[in-house]
Symmetry: C2
Subunit: 304 residues, 2 copies
């Protein structure tokens, strides 16, 4: 494996009609755009390519993420934006779920679930609620209409929320267990890594001894939904991302092209290490590297 | 397998010098002694048998547990009492640990660690502490002298604590990861099961992608410590408990005799099910069942 040449990039540009970008570490880092990101997205749009943005982040809604990207200079619509919170909501909608969801997660997750008509219990509404341990028989009362526990990153996780969800999973009739994503850690600030949604999901696996259904990367659901909704073929779709275990694995497992950028969590040494079994089709320093082909693109690349 | 006969019980009484009892579900349920428990312990003591009490509960210290048992009518000393919090402390003492411990857990765990000279960070002292997300660059500052993260049940678990522990495990030089126990659920009240220490341990496995060293049942440490400290042989030791996956498995894996009582979480149907691969040497309804042999014990059973 070696860094993509201009020829590799031109081939990819010609082959793929749908370009699926990860956000953090790929298009931005914290609150700064990766150099060249804006120009490359504009280049794709100039040639009428379809552009999508997919993040495992479950704390913000699609609207919020699209607004952030637009404010940073990359125009993005809500329809082009996929989050793992949206994926959970879209899945429940797809199976005509008509019970309540118990949410371990933040506003963005509740927003997406509510938007598809799912009534939410927990989430921000249970922030700060504690079990009353002073009682002789402490008790957590659970809504029997909860038919799914939906888990994303929750920076206000508590024993009460974990216990509530554990009881739903144990006692509520055929209660589903959905994980927005299982990312171990995320980069919510420049200086340090932060415990990710995988923390909350693992906690509930530990207490319930059940396994969740995963909706975010690297599970197939978002690519299935994206390709079906926007009528694009898998072999005309490429995933561009910085994480081998989510982005690149996701693309490979689902028959899409893959491009790893080294502007996020993966170093060239990690990528090329013999122990690494996840090999992207292309790799480059960052998304801006694509711009070297800007003046070499044949005009027949444009989608009509 | 069939319920223990008087002959089976007499053989066990003669064979075993050290009797290791689980507490919850075996000697007591909530705040009530199991009928016959007091009398059987007294019978063992009358014949000079060594008696020990082992619980995976990490929230209370040995002193507190011994006092509870004594108050309920079964005399117990601190030296006879083993908790998974004590096990974590004894392990750190055994390896001459001289750094600080970051505690996810409650007062009893801090008490045991402090008693062996380990300086504790976190635990109850971090109850209610939250990350300041209003800052442009949120940050959790970690004590670089923390050399072990010790995890037990924490009914005040928070994102701050999980993040603090995750950072220690990721960044502090050769930081150890110790789990008091990995019990999925416990019976802290009669009416419902509660998320156990396994919840907090799993959360940290999820965020750190590391595996902990387990100190409580079914790991060997407590039996190793007990047999060495009190000079009893494994084949002269029997474990009496209600849980197949902790108590009975623990005894089997460590070369001790085993007796399963059906007064706790295990039913006779579960025990005898073909899917169950954990087979105790003896089983009976409850500890009181041993009393049927009270007047048949040969006088040469007594240890001098």
């Amino acid at each position: 494996m070696k860094k993509a040449t201009d020829r590799d990039k031109l081939e990819a540009f010609q082959q793929y009609d749908a370009w699926v970008f990860d956000l953090d570490g790929t298009l931005w880092k914290g609150s700064t755009l990766i150099p060249g990101a804006k120009e490359f997205i504009e280049l794709l749009r100039y040639y009428n390519k379809k552009v999508f943005f997919v993040t495992n982040n479950a704390t913000k809604s699609r609207a919020t993420n699209a607004a952030k990207l637009t404010a940073m200079g990359i125009n993005a619509t809500q329809a082009e934006m996929y989050t793992s919170s949206f994926a959970a909501a879209a899945y429940l909608k797809a199976i005509s779920f008509n019970k309540k969801a118990y949410v371990i997660g933040e506003e963005g997750l509740v927003e997406e679930l509510t938007a598809v008509g799912v009534q939410c219990v927990g989430g921000p509404a249970h922030r700060g609620v504690e079990v009353d341990w002073s009682q002789a028989e402490p008790h957590v009362e659970v809504d029997p209409e909860v038919g799914a526990v939906v888990v994303g990153l929750d920076r206000y996780i508590s024993y009460y929320k974990l216990q509530y969800a554990t009881l739903c999973l144990a006692n509520n009739d055929s209660c589903m267990f959905l994980a927005c994503n299982t990312d171990a850690r995320g980069h919510f600030s420049q200086a340090q890594e932060w415990a990710g949604a995988g923390t909350m999901v693992a906690a509930l696996i530990g207490s319930s001894e059940r396994e969740p259904m995963l909706l975010g990367k690297p599970a197939s659901f978002i690519l299935d939904h994206l390709c079906a909704t926007h009528q694009v073929a898998r072999d005309k779709t490429i995933v561009v991302g910085d994480r081998l275990d989510t982005d690149i694995l996701w693309g490979i497992q689902n028959g899409a092209g893959t491009c790893c950028v080294l502007s996020g969590v993966t170093s060239e040494a990690q990528l090329l290490a013999e122990s690494n079994k996840v090999h992207p089709k292309l790799y480059m320093s960052d998304i801006g590297d694509f711009l070297t082909i800007k003046n070499q693109i044949p005009s027949n690349c444009a989608i009509m």
